[in-house]
Symmetry: none
Subunit: 247 residues, 2 copies
Amino acid sequence: MSTPADPPSAAPVIVLVRPQLGENIGKAARAMLNFGLVEMRLVAPRDGWPNPSAGPAASGADIVLSGARVFGSVAEAVADCAHVFATTVRKRGVTKPVLTPEEAARDIRTAAGRCAILFGPERSGLETEDVALARAIVTVPINPEFGSLNLAQAVILMAYEWSKSQALAQPTLEAIDPPAPQAELEGLFGQLDTMLDATGFYHPPERTPATRRTLRTLLTKPGWSAQEIRTLRGVLSALEGKKRPRN
Amino acid sequence: MSTPADPPSAAPVIVLVRPQLGENIGKAARAMLNFGLVEMRLVAPRDGWPNPSAGPAASGADIVLSGARVFGSVAEAVADCAHVFATTVRKRGVTKPVLTPEEAARDIRTAAGRCAILFGPERSGLETEDVALARAIVTVPINPEFGSLNLAQAVILMAYEWSKSQALAQPTLEAIDPPAPQAELEGLFGQLDTMLDATGFYHPPERTPATRRTLRTLLTKPGWSAQEIRTLRGVLSALEGKKRPRN
């Protein structure tokens, strides 16, 4: 349980998913630091890391770049995060809450546990698989006839809203358990997935990816706490036929 | 003064004062159009106008560039405007109201008469003489240890706030499924409960009510939709060994 002694959640982690140009990574770093965000994570940057084009574009936001960590997948990048937000402009056919940057910033500000915000590659944006990992979608309300936000602009709008929400300076703590780190949710999903696979649930094969995505979305929605995840894993183990230890 | 009888003012004019690089003029145009602003005015652009570097940087926001008008002084550029706002990060020793972008956007939204927002040259920002023409100063609250907003970023934050203030009248409805009727949730719980009972999960008996309550709380938390409940019942049936019908 969260208690009044718990600190409010820290600043969100900015996760650039498969960024293409080092220059844009640098610009994103600059955008972040302008509003006090310092933790950047990179998922499979196209040109590797470090990237010599990033530094000059960061205009002095070196602390962000030097601390950036690289991951092979989105799941690894957000494994320690309790809340994952995916920025995307397109409707994805996924049934997740759609928030404005302002609403997302408010959620982040009051959330217990670490938050991550995903930003997709410059050209294509986040893939459906990336979005499936997130609890909510963040969409900037933009001119429907000219939507042309670049990566650093999307980052700066989120960072700006986060900074604004912080300035409101009202540390409202939720008195509920924070959602479990994403890795624990993945553990639950993996266990269920293995069990279902054995039953022939994923039939026909061509529908398997969509079915998996649906289930992942279902299980991501609740924001279960670590304790709740443990309980559910116990449920699955019972259904699987493994006996629980009886003191 | 604005009165209830006044019509709301039109979109503000964006005035770039002595901009240096054509590329930045183009980026500012792109930033504007993303949030529905189309009227740009240029005061003594360093490299003249039109500038061949502007178009490529505008990424298609040509309507803004082609309509841009050039003036020799700030006074001429804002001659038809009733309200002039000057964006600046530095204290200028001028006794004018200092607004956040959000506050300025609200003022613009409710003001009678045309509004203009001044943005200074890339390197130096607005001069004291320019600021003197404005009724209020707009300052983006920024990281005091790293203030490095470029011209297009300052423009996009103002355009974004203006767009937000305009959108307040039209609340965006979330297009997500409502939670299923409680009876359907009970159906899911009942199915799981029966399955778990058969496995010996509810042991020892004296703890059964508490365990049931915990599970019910867990399953109530998500607010799953009717479709999601159906999917989960399919999952349970699969785990129970009932085959799903295969067309």
